[in-house]
Amino acid sequence: MNRVVITGFGAYSCLGRNVEEIKQSLYTGKSGIGFDPERKAMGFRSAYTGMLEKPNLKGMLDRRMRIGLAEQGEYAYLSTYEALQMAKMEQDFREANEVGILYGNDSSARATIEAIDKIREKQDTTLLGSGSVFQSMNSTVTMNLATIFKLKGINFTVSGACASGSHAIGMGYILIKHGWQQAVVCGGAQEVNPYAMGSFDALGTFSVREGDARLASRPFDKGRDGLVPSGGAATVIIESYEHAVKRGAPILAEIIGYGFSSNGGHISQPNVDGPVRAIEMSIKDAAIETGKIDYINAHATSTPVGDMYEAKALDTVFGASRPLISSTKSMTGHECWMAGASEIVYSLLMMQNSFVAPNINFENPDEDSAKLNIATKTTEKAINTFLSNSFGFGGTNSSLIVQKISN
């Protein structure tokens, strides 16, 4: 079995356009949430969203490469560019070796809806242009990035609802661990626009808390009333340890455990058993005691029911060791398909800089969150090992464990 290491990472989110900006936001507990008047005008229950600057890739990519990229693909291009730079994995190397890509993505709503609107208006499909199909497909991120970055290994998209990004990393980990791939670009991307979130808003799961948008996302807090949708993209470059050593890559951390499960129950309502099984599977895979986990980046999205079940699951597994826990969704909102990857990046930044980012807006615990050791403020702490949870519709669960590198 191969050891699986992380040699580069990057992100583009409502906390910053690169990992340096994001590190500052995490440390200072800065919220990236704002109010979107377009959603209000469209009749959304909730107009809160993560606020991202639209990237301008003109000058970075030629026309052919740009026109196939949907919004989330643009974010993913930037996060992957940053990650590959950090990993010192240049194009010459990528063209000569089988580097794969597995990326989480579960919609491309804006591109799809805009195309259909145009067909209805013009009664003619040719006027969509050549980029539309490559923007609209669910595999839009992997098909574009594999082309742009000249990737020659495994190449497909992982769609696992709000656990997509985490499962993408988990799948890459399995492939490398078993020797089927030596290096894989993994990550998750999420479009940020009303079209992608209208049907989600319809379920009544978004926060409608009046007042300051920055206070709307409040995972584990007794007064939470729903999540805030958000997005962007995050990338991690993972490789076998031997491969990374051989090419002289910076070895930043090691993935030591991956666990997954399905609830086999309700389509949207989670439970305790499914997450517990995923967490326990990752711990078994990592072959460590629960007490070795220094920090948990919780999935907790700020919904009343979801956070309650995760709190119960965390207490079930970690009730004795009580590691520090925070949900960075308190600052980012729920980054959905991207979240499982971005929260690995956020946790890596904490590990590298020895702090735990705060679970902002956690003012009053409820019966279940009171049992957890939640970081309400930025906490200086050496993190040797962390666990990151991601759960999604349909009862899909994923847990990843990452450790500081030891030679």
Partner: protein, 85 residues
Amino acid sequence: MNKEEVIKKVNQFMVEEFEVEEAKIKPDAILKDTLELDSLDYVDLVVVIENNFGFKVKGEDFIHINTFEDFYTYILEKVADKQLK
């Protein structure tokens, strides 16, 4: 629309949409080579022509268009046809 206007408009979208260097646009330059067109780019050329001149190009029409001059002439004829109708 006269020829000068057609040339100005075509050259403008060649630079803005297809990112062709202005200096490379000459009447006798080969359209396909200058734009480095592949089969997907022709799809986009159809869209740009529709948006700028209001008519839809048939794929087979491109067979007879070799140089930029051919392209200007073709558009001028199509625009004139359209105006007559």
